[in-house]
């Protein structure tokens, strides 16, 4: 059990190269947009979802009405419901406190690392939840520390370093090895293209539209082979 937990922590270590700059940039952006430091920091534990935190920060700076902020952030985070459905079969045997803990920690990165672990046939599912917990805790601690660092030091990070690019790079590193067959590639390509075409949709609806379109494309490609 303890081994699996540590394996989970180790499993996220390489991704931290992407998460650390992202957290720094979030803290810096929140300060640049005039958010109180206390709110910028508490958002990282209350919401704990990087891309929606960026969106909230930008909307708040534009004096957007609260209900629009809530709705937009909810749409951006809707994909987490799919992550929940995807991990659920592996967590059914666990007591409620485990489900609550893993759900709270279920970010894009934690999901990608955990589902890879659960899909590994050689490991079996028995202690996979310890791995998921380790991955989630590792990411959570990193996110809090880097948020704080971004808030305090962010003003000294030159924009020319383009640290925000660490986010797409992290996701590229996570998704590329998962493109194992034609159906999955179809899902990725369609989701990627639709996400760009639907980028201007209100309330950031383009993202979830693209994800659903990608899933449908994957299923169609699968039935056609």
């Amino acid at each position: 059990m303890r081994d699996e937990f540590m394996d989970g922590v180790k499993g996220v270590l390489p991704i931290l190269l992407g998460v650390v700059p992202f957290g720094l940039i979030y803290g810096a952006l929140a300060m640049a947009n005039g958010l109180p430091a206390s709110l910028a920091l508490s958002m990282s534990s209350i919401v704990f979802a990087g891309s929606s935190q960026f969106v909230i920060t930008q909307l708040a700076a534009l004096a957007t009405p609260a209900f629009v902020i809530i709705l937009t952030a909810a749409v951006v985070n809707l994909r987490h419901m799919l992550y929940s459905a995807s991990l659920a079969p592996y967590l059914q045997h666990l007591p409620a406190r485990w489900k609550v803990a893993i759900a709270y920690l279920l970010t894009d990165e934690a999901y990608a690392v955990a589902i890879t672990r659960f899909n590994r046939a050689d490991k079996g599912g028995a202690n996979g939840h310890w791995f998921a917990l380790g991955a989630g805790v590792g990411l959570w601690i990193t996110w809090q520390i880097t948020t704080l660092a971004g808030i305090t030091l962010g003003a000294f990070i030159p924009a020319a370093w383009s640290l925000d690019f660490a986010l797409p790079l992290t996701f590229i590193a996570l998704v590329t090895p998962a493109l194992r067959d034609r159906a999955i590639v179809s899902a990725a390509v369609v989701a990627g293209v639709i996400a760009v075409l639907a980028f201007a949709m209100p309330l950031k609806l383009g993202l979830i539209t693209a994800v659903v379109a990608g899933i449908i494309a994957g299923m169609l490609a699968e039935t056609n082979t």
Partner: protein, 109 residues
């Protein structure tokens, strides 16, 4: 209510909604049986969701599509994909992408 108090309240609501999304199926699946069609759909969630976040970051600049060899983020992203494909190494992929972006930004300007 002050602006900060309103924003804090909004954050708490967003936090609860996000946690609700994350907990939804994990908490309820033993009571709800997922239809086979949905179970099949879940296989495509990681690739579709992550790619849908990646592509606008590479291709959208200032609110418009920027499909050009002069788009440093696009080229650096393609280089990162190639590195990820060949090596399956997360650390190397992120490092290569960042370095590629810095070099390209320096060359293109």
């Amino acid at each position: 209510m002050s602006n900060d108090a309103t924003l804090l309240l909004a954050l708490i609501i967003v936090g609860l909604i996000t946690f609700g999304f994350r907990l939804s199926f994990i908490a309820l699946m033993d009571r709800l049986r997922l239809p086979p069609l949905l179970q099949r759909a879940l296989r495509y969630v990681p690739a579709a969701a992550l790619t849908a976040i990646i592509t606008p970051e590479l291709l959208i600049r200032d609110g418009a599509v920027f499909l050009s060899p002069l788009n440093a983020r696009l080229i650096a992203g393609i280089i990162a994909i190639a590195v990820a494909w060949r090596t399956k190494n997360t650390l190397l992929t992120i490092a290569a992408g960042m370095i590629a972006l810095w070099l390209l930004q320096w060359i293109i300007r």
